[in-house]
């Protein structure tokens, strides 16, 4: 399964300076499908990767929100 690699991709994208949001799509889908597959197989900790991917999305969303707010405020 490629889930850990996709998850690492999400982590690296969070660390990146200006990663476009659409780069998250494929790793997110991979994590979702992989998590569903792991759940179907009753694999241990099947929830882990989807949950971490969700955290990554939440953090990326929060980052996007704060950046847009700062940009909207503009220089004083």
């Amino acid at each position: 399964m490629t889930d850990p690699t996709a998850l690492a991709t999400l982590g690296f994208l969070l660390l990146a300076r200006r990663a476009p949001g659409w780069l998250l799509v494929v790793p997110l889908l991979t994590c979702a499908v992989g998590g569903a597959l792991a759940a179907a197989l009753q694999a241990p900790a099947a929830w882990l990767v989807p949950v971490l991917a969700g955290v990554a999305v939440a953090v990326a969303g929060w980052q996007h929100y704060t950046r847009s707010r700062v940009a909207g405020a503009g220089p004083a």
């Binding site: 399964m1 490629t2 982590g11 200006r18």
Partner: protein, 303 residues
């Protein structure tokens, strides 16, 4: 699922001699149609217990890969043990056996006809067709492909094996393996499959290692009825293309746009990103070790 018609055959697989004890327990306790295991000139551990058990219980056997893609007799490993593996292999070859018998002593198993007999082998022995003759080969995946010419599923007429069989029957035919156009190896040779091959290569060597493309949707594909098998194949292609596109996108965003350099984001974001990377690269593998099996591997019960 089998009773509902969603699966036609149920089997288990292992390779390189791993988990044979557990494998044997499952073979003893579950109504399997087939097993797949490593059995070749080089690796003949299955002869000790698994093959006799398969014969006893009438379970068909898929060997992978039958002749180790030529490495066994070419000196990469120990010599074939007292010709036992060789004899066993040749025994099941059917029409191509005599030819392989000539090829094997020369270590010439890279010969294209290797693919020929592995395909012939799977043609000749569908599962459950001759219960008195098990174990027998019902299929033999090539060393690189899990996708093509699987005898267990209902391939349309004149797929790889048929083409190849006709090719071999032709007097004076050259030793060129026909292109099935389905497996990854053959796709490299066809213009139509070049895109897949490129996507696969990019996905495998992507900047963030988005390798093993195309493994995400369905485990295996053996025994799926034709519609599901086609869906499985489509899923694999979609995954490959997606990973290839992701690799290209990362290259574009990172190398060309310079947007992937590590920069000064909010501390919370950096901490979250770092933790996710650490968990992905270290935590998940350690989790597997802590559980005693790979994290994504389901618990296998022989009871």
């Amino acid at each position: 699922m089998k009773a509902a018609g969603q699966l036609r055959h149920v089997g288990i697989t292992t390779s390189e001699g791993r988990r044979h004890e557990e494998f044997e327990q499952i073979m003893r306790s579950q109504p399997l149609d087939f097993v797949q295991l490593s059995y070749s000139l080089r690796d003949h551990r299955a002869e000790q217990r698994l093959l006799p058990l398969a014969r006893e219980r009438g379970i068909a056997v898929i060997r992978q890969p039958p002749l180790r893609a030529g490495r066994s007799a070419a000196g990469a490993g120990p010599a074939p043990p007292a010709a036992l593996g060789r004899r066993a292999a040749v025994h099941e070859l059917g029409p191509a056996g005599a030819e392989i018998r000539h090829l094997a002593p020369r270590g010439d198993l890279r010969h294209p006809r290797y693919h020929a007999w592995s395909t012939m082998c799977r043609r000749t022995s569908p599962p459950r067709e001759a219960p008195g003759r098990t174990p027998r080969c019902v299929g033999a995946w090539s060393s690189t492909s899990t996708a093509c010419h699987d005898r267990v599923v209902d391939l349309p007429p004149r797929q790889f094996s048929d083409v190849l069989a006709a090719h071999l029957r032709r007097p004076g035919s050259s030793a060129t393996t026909p292109n099935c156009g389905r497996c990854s190896r053959c796709c490299w040779r066809s213009a139509a499959g070049a895109g897949q091959g490129l996507a696969r290569a990019i996905g495998g060597a992507g900047p963030l290692g988005l390798g093993a493309a195309g493994r995400g949707l369905v485990v295996g594909g053996v025994g799926l009825p034709p519609p599901a098998f086609r869906g499985h194949q489509l899923g694999r292609r979609v995954c490959r293309l997606a990973f290839g596109a992701q690799g290209l996108a990362l290259l574009w965003a990172g190398a060309l746009r310079g947007g992937l350099g590590f920069g000064a984001g909010a501390p919370a974001v950096r901490i979250a990103g770092g933790l996710i990377v650490i968990l992905a690269l270290i935590g998940v593998p350690l989790l597997g070790a802590a559980l005693g099996r790979p994290w994504a591997q389901p618990r296998v019960s022989a009871s």
